[in-house]
Point group: none
DNA sequence: GCTTTTTTCTTTCAATAGCCAACATATGCA
DNA sequence: TGCATATGTTGGCTATTGAAAGAAAAAAGC
């Protein structure tokens, strides 16, 4: 069995069961525990999952997540995400029709646009919808769909249908992996379709990702680099990485 | 079992019941009490729970969602609505596909079904969706649509489209006006369509309304009496009113 | 109120299970 | 063959757990 195949199966398993021990995985694939550990370490580096003593759990850090402060990284990147939110808000004009993808970074965008006027916000995140619900001058449209386990994100056919019927000025899309050649990728194939529809629905695509997401490549392709009009990230991005994006003339904002 | 898995389950447990003892947790996970104590100490350090002598309680002020400022509607008839919620929960079997209309009474139904198994819940209320989002055994489908100002309700074309494509076992529909001859009526014409679609989508229609809603008639017709299979209300309903419904053989439950 | 008893908590230590790094072996490809 | 990559093996190190003993807190008895 190929390593990549094994990794895919590990992910599939984790999607269903959420946790797995190293020995359990080693047994079921008939490989040595060291091999599994190497797989898990590599996958952790990609940001796909989270290793713990004895096993592994899925990293629902932000694409699928919201459980407050279960790991320290969430707190660590809190300020960065907040800054990204403020920078994104500056790009939004009164009267805009925008789309906010589900996630913690985009939630910060929502919190930063409460004083805008005559805004229409489409979102697949019920937490974002909730945050905006008291704003008289903001019309909120929720995409509908299946609520992802343990998260605030909606996904599935209903989500896709609604996204396909909309035309928006700007879409703010989050991603767990962004690479200057490979573009936006995602570890979960189930979420690819919604993100692609978001990108198709808006005139201007703004990717939002804190610095830890850069240089990562995951299994499933979401969008090419040229489909992205602009990226917002935080100031802790690696200078070499920054240079690579500047070399290809990407409009990259540091919050 | 992995340590992190155990910690997650402790949290899940505390979300349902607010308190747990160390020995109780040690028993249920088949680990030594010292292990549980170590888990709890670590989790307290993270700020997710609060240790007490002999046990632990949850620290749930960090839920992004909690709306402390209950509006008047929410407080009105709180206990009655809670009772109605419990009565409705008794009518729901494991494995059911149900629909919960937006509203405070139906929110109480949601709170009363957290330990059901293998449930599918369709709702047009993002607060209800949020309440159910942590339940592993409940699949939540949100209808999508425009978020009604100052509320948690979704409405409009997207809502209607989704409702029309679903087939459910039971629909729990709230109403501000119910009359033994005129049936269900509503003061806001914008909401009529969604309610009618709900009624069309389910095999069994259960109207939920506290006693103050009885005898009222509003401008817009939603449904005839014969379209309702069952009504759940509270014990403060006027005896004469009760008699009228019994005379027409309505299956009326007093919570 | 005070003391005694019981329960729970903390600390410590030993045993086990899991981890990492280095090296060895195997596989595949040019 | 030689190189690169993937996997297995080994030994030393670390983390987690359960058990035990003393400290602290709560409950019971007077």
């Amino acid at each position: 069995m190929l390593a990549i195949e094994r990794k895919k199966l590990i992910l599939d398993y984790l999607k269903k069961r959420h946790y797995a021990t190293v020995s359990e995985l080693a047994d079921s694939f008939h490989v040595h525990e060291a091999t599994i550990r190497r797989d898990l370490s590599a996958m952790q580096k990609e940001g796909v999952l989270f290793r713990t003593h004895g096993g592994v759990t899925i990293n629902e850090d932000d694409e699928i997540h919201s459980e407050p402060s279960f790991n320290e990284r969430e707190i660590a990147e809190y300020n960065e995400k907040q800054q990204i939110g403020l920078a994104a808000a500056e790009m939004i004009q009164d009267g805009d029709h925008i789309l906010l993808d589900s996630g913690t970074t985009t939630l910060h965008i929502a919190k930063s646009i409460l004083d805008k006027k005559d805004l229409t916000v489409v979102t697949n995140d019920i937490n974002i919808a909730s945050t905006l619900r008291n704003q008289k001058d903001i019309k909120v449209i929720v995409t509908g769909g299946i609520l992802f386990p343990e998260s605030y994100m909606l996904n599935g056919k209903f989500t896709d249908d609604v996204l396909q019927s909309l035309n928006l000025h700007k879409a703010f899309v989050g991603t767990p992996a962004i690479h200057f050649q490979r573009g936006i990728t995602h570890f979960d194939d189930q979420l690819v379709s919604a993100k692609q529809n978001m990108i198709a629905a808006a005139r201007e695509i703004i990717a939002v990702a804190d610095h830890t997401k850069f240089g990562r490549v995951s299994l499933h392709k979401v969008a090419d680099v040229h489909q992205i009009d602009c990226i917002i990230t935080d100031r802790h991005i690696d200078p070499e990485e920054l240079q690579r994006w500047q070399d290809i003339n990407m409009d990259l904002h540091l919050a």
